[in-house]
């Protein structure tokens, strides 16, 4: 069992200031990370951008192997981890859906993890059940990165969202961030709201009443010193926004399809709603989108969702370097 490894909630902040404590730890939930350690990841990600773009080259992870262990498809997460590892000179074992479902038929996740960890130095796990990453971290002596577990955590997504805001706006603190869409079921929206509060952003939560942010998350945001404002209409708040974070409303959430159409239509971002917006508003979306954002928005100066997707690479590069214990003060 993993005794040499940290895989529990709430790292001590002072310990995490020291980079070496990242080594061989896990990234399971954004709540495991202090503000300081998230900032460290973002600072290093900043330095990784030219490498992520291929403008500079490094082989610092040569000979290291990442296992992409995906029990359900998520092309973007898988590709961006793969790109991050390859850009650092490492190699990737793709143990992905649908291959994975046949490998693991009847086998416990605990056993699969103990098998895969002997082939790799770091594991990225994507799994349909909540808590799978914590369990994997418990059984693995190698670092486990949560690539999304069920409706649960997806911490690298949260960090890349924060990173995108910091990079595009210069800071996170004091920014008016409007989150719109399905705020109830998307647990990644919950983590992001908490993380934004931790960094001192002001939150507007815009959702139909039955898809509004859960009280528990709002309480946590308040505990972190922010007072989120709730709204049901985007028009009411768009003029205040520095960041508009759009999430998808899923049809399955509505028993009545006509109700869905009404709601989905009212949160569609197009040029007309952006007329009231600040000139430097940025629009983010954890892709893929369906029709929440009209294609006409793509060419406006507001669109940042493709940039956001790219930012997944430098953020994941930074995480891999830290977990694999590379001395990041040398060689970059």
């Amino acid at each position: 069992m993993a005794t040499s490894k940290r895989s529990y909630r709430h790292f001590d902040n002072s310990e995490m200031r020291n980079m070496s404590t990242f080594r061989n730890s896990d990234i399971v939930s954004i709540r495991d990370l202090s503000k300081e350690s998230i900032e460290q990841i973002m600072d290093l990600a900043e330095r990784m951008i030219p490498y992520a773009r291929g403008e500079k080259k490094t082989r610092v992870l040569e000979g290291r192997i990442l296992a992409n262990l995906f029990f359900e498809p998520s092309t973007r997460t898988r590709l961006s981890f793969e790109s991050a590892m390859v850009r650092l000179g490492g190699e990737v074992l793709d143990v992905s859906y649908p291959l994975m479902t046949s490998v693991a038929k009847g086998e416990t996740l605990a056993d699969t993890i103990r098998m895969v960890e002997s082939y790799a130095d770091v594991i990225v796990l994507r799994h349909p059940h909540e808590g799978a990453a914590r369990l994997a971290a418990h059984f693995s002596t190698k670092p486990v990165i949560n690539g999304g577990d069920g409706a649960g955590q997806h911490p690298t997504q949260t960090i890349l969202d924060l990173f995108t805001i910091r990079r595009e706006k210069g800071k996170i603190e004091g920014m008016n961030v409007v989150m719109v869409g399905d705020l109830k079921y998307g647990r990644t929206a919950h983590s992001l709201a908490e993380a934004l509060a931790l960094f001192g952003a002001h939150l507007w939560l815009v959702a139909p009443q039955n898809l509004q942010m859960p009280k528990e998350t709002i309480k946590e945001v308040e505990r972190l010193g922010q007072k989120p404002k709730l709204a049901s209409k985007l028009e009411e708040v768009i003029a205040e926004a520095d960041v508009l974070y759009v999430t998808r409303i899923q049809r399955e959430r509505f028993p009545d399809p006509s109700e869905y159409l009404k709601v989905a239509g009212s949160y569609r971002i197009d040029k007309s709603i952006l007329r009231e917006a600040k000139k430097d508003l940025i629009i983010m979306h954890p892709l893929p989108r369906v029709d929440e954002i009209a294609p006409e928005v793509d060419n406006t100066p507001h669109a940042r969702y493709f940039q956001q997707a790219f930012n997944g690479v430098p953020v994941r590069m930074a995480i891999l370097l830290l977990l694999l214990g590379v001395d990041v003060n040398e060689g970059f």
Partner: protein, 152 residues
């Protein structure tokens, strides 16, 4: 309470200050709701209490509780007290107290939680508040609702 409706016991355990209405759940926890009863069990429900208005009381003869039973009682009745009776005297008296982490005594209420599959782990919760008990699954991060329905 001079006209106590149940006679004192010689040896055994009195679980006092049980939250009103929870006595039957306490019986299930200590395993006397089935056929395996070898000793006398007395249950008082809706008894006047100086502290809380009303309470339930359970007395079990010739039986002491193990720690996991006490933790389970703390989950459904955080202010209960345990009195161990030896030879008609209260030999020990203590309040139930939830530990900071509970392991293997409740199941996660999230049906999609990995601990509800056949993985080789015990469900484990961080106790975020002891009274009223608030438990958070360390695996899926969810708060456990309806705790008494999920006791193992």
């Amino acid at each position: 309470m001079k006209d106590f409706r149940v006679t004192p016991i010689r040896n055994g355990t009195v679980i006092d200050h049980i939250e009103c209405g929870m006595a039957l759940k306490v019986l299930r926890i200590i395993g006397v709701d089935g056929e395996k009863i070898h000793s006398t069990v007395s249950v008082l429900m809706h008894v006047p209490s100086k502290k809380a208005g009303w309470k339930d009381v359970v007395k079990v003869e010739d039986r002491e509780l193990d720690p996991s039973e006490v933790d389970k009682i703390a989950l459904i009745s955080p202010r209960a007290t345990i009195n161990i009776i030896r030879d008609f005297n209260v030999a020990e008296k203590y309040k139930v107290r939830l530990p900071d982490v509970v392991r293997g005594i409740v199941r996660c209420g999230n049906p999609n939680c990995i601990t509800n599959l056949s993985e080789p782990v015990e469900p484990e919760f961080v106790v975020e508040c002891k009274d009223p008990p608030i438990l958070r699954c360390i695996y899926c991060d969810r708060i456990l609702e309806n705790i008494s329905d999920h006791i193992i």
